[in-house]
Structure formats: structure tokens, C-alpha cells
Amino acid sequence: MKIVAVVNQKGGVAKTTTTANLGACLAARGYRTLLIDLDPQANLTLGLGIEWYALECSLNHVLLDPDEVPLKNILHQIADLPLYLAPGHLDLAHAEAMLMPRPDSAYRLRNSLEDLFKEETFDWVFIDCPPSLGTLTQNAIVASSHLLIPTEPKFYAFAGMDTLNKMIVGLTKGLRFRIELLGVLLTMYERGTRLHQTIAEEIRERFGDKVFQTVIYKNVRLSESEVEGMPIILFDRRATGAQNYEQLAEEILNRATG
């Protein structure tokens, strides 16, 4: 089992889109996959067709009161696939505040996952992080074995990864965890844009084979599938976006086994 935090403090770089669609592609291949929506904006939850504001229990309850609401109790199965979602909620912002002063604040999600794994098994777990490096993202990193960093081929990409690097180094001073980079994923890539190509080359130069060969091209069908509340492979299998995420799933599986 790999537990992957999908992280980048910049918003709009396709963290949520990647979590939903990569997760769905793996589930469609038969891998039991768990998605965790750790962002108070709860876009992953909405994007998978679940209206978080109507839920009685979501991840914030699990983080604040795991004895009362274990993680197992809030899981939703998505589209008859072996795909499960732990829904997020706006109140996660509140949970973040409540947790901050507690000494175990960063270990909450890890503890809940460990309890869950006593009863359920998964092949892949993806954690969709908020666009910030606060307590919630710390929870994701401490709970994960791997990082997946989606980034647009933009000028600020390096700065963002430097900040993330700093955060990780900062966390090693106080927390017990182990994490390695699954990969950097280039998203919103525009075909034929020389600047994108240049930036992509430079990122590959620095990060070597830690950058996925697969690139996610800009594709409006991805946004449309989000609005429809379903992963793109169920919405439009032929779309470039669907093919890109299928290819990413293949690449990740090949790496994991090869």
C-alpha cells in the first residue's frame, strides 16, 4: 500500500483533479483506492458528486473526535468502483484551528488511518491537500509514505517546490515521519507552447526521473467532468484528459512494480 499526499501550496494546479482522476483510473483497474479530501473547500468531494454541506459526518469529525466518528464510518463508495472517499467539509478549517494547540495535532490523520487499516485494506490512498502548509497539510505529510506534486509549467514552479522543501525540512525538526517523492506531475500543459516546454525541460533537469514522463494537457473536459460530479473516465473516456490520467496510472503502476 502506498499513501500519497497530493500537495502544492499553490491553488489551482490540479491537486484535486489529479486525486480524483488518478484514483478513479487505479480503481477501474481493480485496485482498492481511498481518497481523502483534506481541503476545507471540499472540491474533491463535490467533484465526485457528493454534496458535503448535506453530510452529517465528514473528515473534520474524524480529526476532532475519532472515538465518536471513526474514519470507517464516513467513507462513501464512488460509482460502484473499488473507490472510496472520505469527504471533506468547510468545517475542516475549524478543525485545523482546534487542532493547532494540541501536541498530537499533526498525527491525527495517521492515527485514524492506522485504525482503519486494522479492518480494511487498500492498495492506494491519496490525500488531497489544501493550498496551504498548515496543520492539515502537516497531517497529510505525516500520514503519507509518498508525495505527489502537481505543478503547472509556470515560472513560479521552482519557488513553490522550494517552499515545500523548506516545510518538509522544518517538519523533520519536530515530527516523526518518513516520506519520499513519488513524482512531480506537469499539469495544464499547453501543446506547442515554447515556454511550457522550456520550463518542463528545466524541471526535468533538476528533478530527473522524479518527474513523470506523463504530462497532463490542458483539457476543458476535465473541468466539465468535475461539474458533472464524476471522474473523467466515466464522463468521457476518449477525452485527452482521460487518456492522460490513464497513462499516468500506468506509469505509476509500472514504477511501483518495476
Binding site: Q9, P40, Q41, Y53, L90, A93, H94, E96, A97, M98, M100, P101, R102, P103, D104, A106, Y107, S132, L133, G134, T135, L136, T137, Q138, L147, I149, F155, F158, A159, M161, D162, T163, L164, N165, K166, M167, I168, V169, G170, L171, T172, K173, G174, L175, R176, F177, R178, I179, E180, L181, R194, L195, T198, I199, E202, E205, R206, F207, G208, K210
Partner: protein
Amino acid sequence: MRPDRLTSQRQRLRRQADAFEFNALIQGVSTLEESEETAAAEEAPAIENFPPAAVVLPETAAPAEQQIHAKQEIPAEPESSAAADLISEVPTITSPVHRETREERLHTALEALGIRLLQEVGRMRAALRAYDAQEAGFYLAHVNQLLELLHSVDPDGDVARHYQTTACPPEGRTWFPTAWSLAELAESPFSALLPPDADDEFAREMIYAAWGVEFSHNGT
């Protein structure tokens, strides 16, 4: 695009990448391999070295003294329409429920501002943990601006308390004072978030960075 333009862009990118650090990401990190004793010593994680972000939490609020100080410094202004406009535009948080009355709109705004405040404090705290004074200053500016808004629309925090909005001040207290100077920062509960070995130089850099933040069109 002309090739020489592309070359210069590539050079700029390289300079950037050279200035930055990605080793922990590329090589991975682990703090699990230490001996049992070290592990035991770390049972109570050193996270406690970073004083908790008590700053926004009712149960761990700042001493009353500071609060009185805040009250004197920040005049209780009536709710200006400019502030109300700003609040109605608070980004990123949208409530699915449409609230109608003026009081209810204020409630919605206070909730949104409270959430935003927590997010920005969280970001500031993360930057401080990473010893990044520049970035911390950037978020401090946001925190200050949010506090100014909160002081101006709900001077005593009564409305927020009434509705128990996120991060509302506890009974008998108002919002935290802003920290736009070294002296204010030293007195502010936010100073508890500074890394343990941060010196004056660090705090000054943070304040200067906060001054450099412009609040323009896009809400930052």
C-alpha cells in the same frame, strides 16, 4: 517567441533553480530511523517547542492586559460600507446558504473572515516553522488586514461571539490587536509563534516583509 528571448528565460529559470533547495524532496526524508532512546525522547514531539498557535483560540487567548491595550488602540468604528463591501467579497469561502438580513449577512461575513484568519495564521505559522521570515511577513500582513476588518465591523467581537463564528474571541475579550511594528509584534500573542531561536533581526525582517505586501485587486 524569439530564440534569444527563450534563452534568457531559460537562464532566469536556472538562476532561480540554483538559488532554491530541493534536496529533501528529491532524496526523501525520514525521522524514524533514530535509536529507540531518541524515539522515546521524541514521544512528546518537539512540535511543542513551537508554542501553540494560541493566538486565535478562545481557550488559550492572550492575557487580558493585551486585550485592554488593543481596545484603546483600535477605536470602535461604526461598520463602514467600504469594509462591508470588502467583506462581502472575501474570497475562497462561499456559503451554500443565502442569508438575507443585514445581521445575517454580517454573520456570514464574520464566519468567512474567521475562517480566513485561521488559514492565514496557519500559513504564517508554517512559514515560521520553516524559518522563512519573508513568507511569514507576507501572511502576517494578511492576518493584520483581516484583524483590522474584524475590529471595524464587530469592534467588541460581540456579534461573532453571539453566533459562535469560527475564531470568535472569548467572553470579555475582543479580537487580537494587529502587529505592524516590532513593538506591537513583541506584545502580540503572535510572537509566541516565532521560532525559539529567532532574534530581533528575524522579527524585523518579518515586519519589513509585511510592510511590502500590497493589497490590490485580487484580494491579497
